[in-house]
Symmetry: C2
Subunit: 354 residues, 2 copies
């Protein structure tokens, strides 16, 4: 697993915590801050701080864990702590956590004093395979996901597979959805490899391959003007389902669980509109339903889901713009879907027995 | 007065509201929003909307006027309105107002859905000469000025001198401080021209010359890594005085009034540390005191001012980094000043009789 070169920065896979130390030693930062959440503070932070002790002084900032806290209010709290700690434009923020910490920390750093350096140490499978490249930062507002954010690249990303050992099974499944998506939109051979693997334990080699695929797509289209939209497969419906679950379920869906539902629905739409073969859809459904339990959708939720999709940031004007796949391994962007079509696809999901 | 080319966008001076209409007609925007404050809604917005009616539909968003409202809370309000109005990444925001509207509107647009287009229609002298080029957006937090923001360029700026007719005298003086600063840091001939002009009414030719100077400096150093720091002359102390006044005075100082105080103090520091001649300082003081009334500083405020300066975003670590001038028309960046020196300069200002 080589170091991956992304948009002006490196993603380290081998002995990456040593690389983090090297990075800091070369960096001449005025101050170093570490952001974590109440979970990663326990299970991941010690491995980082034990390397940094004696190398650099640092201040710790902790947020509450969970998507519900990826908000502007938490940003305000972190900005205020940075003010109190005397952060300046020559400081460094190290984000140690899953996508919530890296997204929020990236946004905070990209806007504090008009931007200072940050690096990511992703500790979930999802953040390692997906949030580690792409330069998207963001937080939610009024439970609209990532509605406020910037495109800002970290100065480096350090992927340490060891962190995944403490990750709960549902979080592993969450990251897996993005890996499966990478196969579906771009690489049939990778999809086949995943399909035939034990998907219950994260595999560093497969993580690396996923990052290679995502990175290739991102380098092609850094600001999401065209090609990069392929990464949105499963996400138009998935995001709406995720928000819906966050608003309605005590034990809400993870991002990947919602995306898996989105990929089944948008897979069905792909058959209707983009040339995906029925047997390919069946293969996709068989792999996804092997990993992800059924989520109950009843008639009352379709209206809510549709209005959530309309607020989704990938839309242009009044149309709902989806990314579909034309076959396993190839995607079809800018597929305009009507409310009815989206609703039908949700009903298709609801009709499946598994 | 030609159109000025700034960082990837134009600043229009001639018949600029017609240029705004042209810009929108060429833009193919999905939606158009106009942000103004409760003052500019009355005195400036009608001139804009009467041009746009029949050209494009638009939605109006209004914030309360005044620096005290340049906050994250108002950003949240504007973001929520954009969500409700269905703004997307292909929308356009037109900021019609002074620096408060253009700074806040720029920040809102640069972070909503990770950024959509905005243009500025600056309606104060200050925002025409200063905020119209440079790409700085930002809002205040805990009364620390511009602590949250981005570097994002507008897509165009439209300077319409007619707006200045309704501008109160104190606001004219506020903008004038930046014009005088442009002369002091970069152009002795321009300083002489200003010195010999009637400074009580804004002069479009002089506005244009100021923007030319600022633009030259900004193009040299878009991200404020070095040269551009010269624009901070008067601002280390000026920002602290401005914040202090905002916190303590019912009828607080304008930005320019505070910067004028800062320029006298930092002029004095320039004599002590950067080679400015005593007679140049006297000339600067004579021009500034002709325009700006004395502000009362007593012994109790020096500690507060010093702690405000330490929080200023131009500092690197523990030092207070000032921009001074080595002569009229030439600046000296990265002058490290101690607390004592800054305090002495404030006492020098307090000792002046005018
Ligand atoms: N920026 C991007 O490109 C991008 C890409 C995908 C997802 N995201 C965002 O990422 C977020 C989801 O990321 P996530 O799934 O990592 O969520 P998360 O950060 O909430 O992590 C999930 C849970 O696992 C805990 N955790 C983290 N690391 C752990 C470890 N090593 N062991 C045990 N527990 C651990 C966390 O504390 C949290 O409770 C969403 O907000 C999504 O929008 C961003
Ligand atoms: N982005 C930059 O590069 C930059 C540069 C300089 C200053 N600024 C910022 O700009 C702000 C100050 O700008 P400002 O002085 O324009 O303040 P402002 O926007 O508060 O305007 C001053 C007052 O004048 C009113 N007003 C505006 N136009 C008017 C008109 N044509 N007629 C009558 N009244 C009018 C406003 O409603 C307000 O009450 C500060 O927050 C400062 O930080 C930014
Ligand atoms: Zn995703
Ligand atoms: Zn200024």
């Amino acid at each position: 697993m080589d170091t991956i070169q992304s948009l002006g920065y490196n993603v380290y896979f081998n002995d990456s915590l040593t690389e983090l130390v090297n990075f800091i030693q070369q960096g001449k930062y005025s101050k170093v801050f570490i952001l974590s959440d109440d979970q990663t503070s326990n299970c991941c932070l010690p491995a980082v701080t034990e390397r940094l002790d004696g190398v650099t002084p640092y201040d710790l900032i902790e947020i509450s864990s969970g998507e519900a806290n990826k908000t502007i209010d938490f940003c305000i709290g972190v900005w205020k702590m940075l003010i109190d700690f005397g952060a300046d434009r020559h400081s460094l923020l190290i984000n140690v956590g899953g996508g919530v910490v890296t997204d929020l920390g990236g946004f905070v750093a990209s806007t504090f004093k008009r931007g200072f350096d940050f690096v990511n140490v992703p500790t979930t499978l999802l953040s390692q395979v997906d949030a580690s490249v792409g330069g998207k930062t963001g937080v939610d507002l009024d439970s609209i996901k990532n509605i406020i954010g910037t495109f800002t690249q970290p100065k480096a990303v350090f992927v340490h597979p060891g962190f995944l050992e403490t990750l709960p099974e549902r979080q592993v499944r969450s990251g897996l959805a993005e890996m499966l998506k990478h196969g579906l939109i771009d690489d049939e051979a990778y999809w086949d490899e995943l399909k035939n693997s034990d998907l219950s334990v994260p595999n560093p080699e497969l993580v690396f391959k996923s990052v290679v695929i995502k990175n290739k797509i991102v380098l092609d289209d850094p600001l999401e003007k065209g090609r990069r939209k392929c990464l949105n497969f499963g996400h138009t419906i998935g995001h709406a389902v995720e928000t819906f679950s966050l608003d309605n379920d005590g034990d809400h869906l993870t991002h990947g669980e919602a995306i898996a539902i989105g990929m089944i629905c948008e897979g069905w739409l792909s058959v209707q509109k983009a040339g995906l073969k029925q047997e390919e859809l069946e293969e996709i459904i068989s792999v996804l339903t092997r990993v992800y339990p059924k989520y109950h959708l009843d008639d009352s939720c379709y209206t809510v889901l549709n209005s959530l999709m309309k607020k989704d940031k990938k839309n242009e004007g009044d149309n709902i713009n989806c990314t579909l796949i034309s076959k396993i391994g190839a995607c079809a962007i800018n597929q305009i879907c009507t409310e009815d079509e989206l609703c039908e696809s949700l009903k298709f999901y609801a009709s499946l027995n598994f």
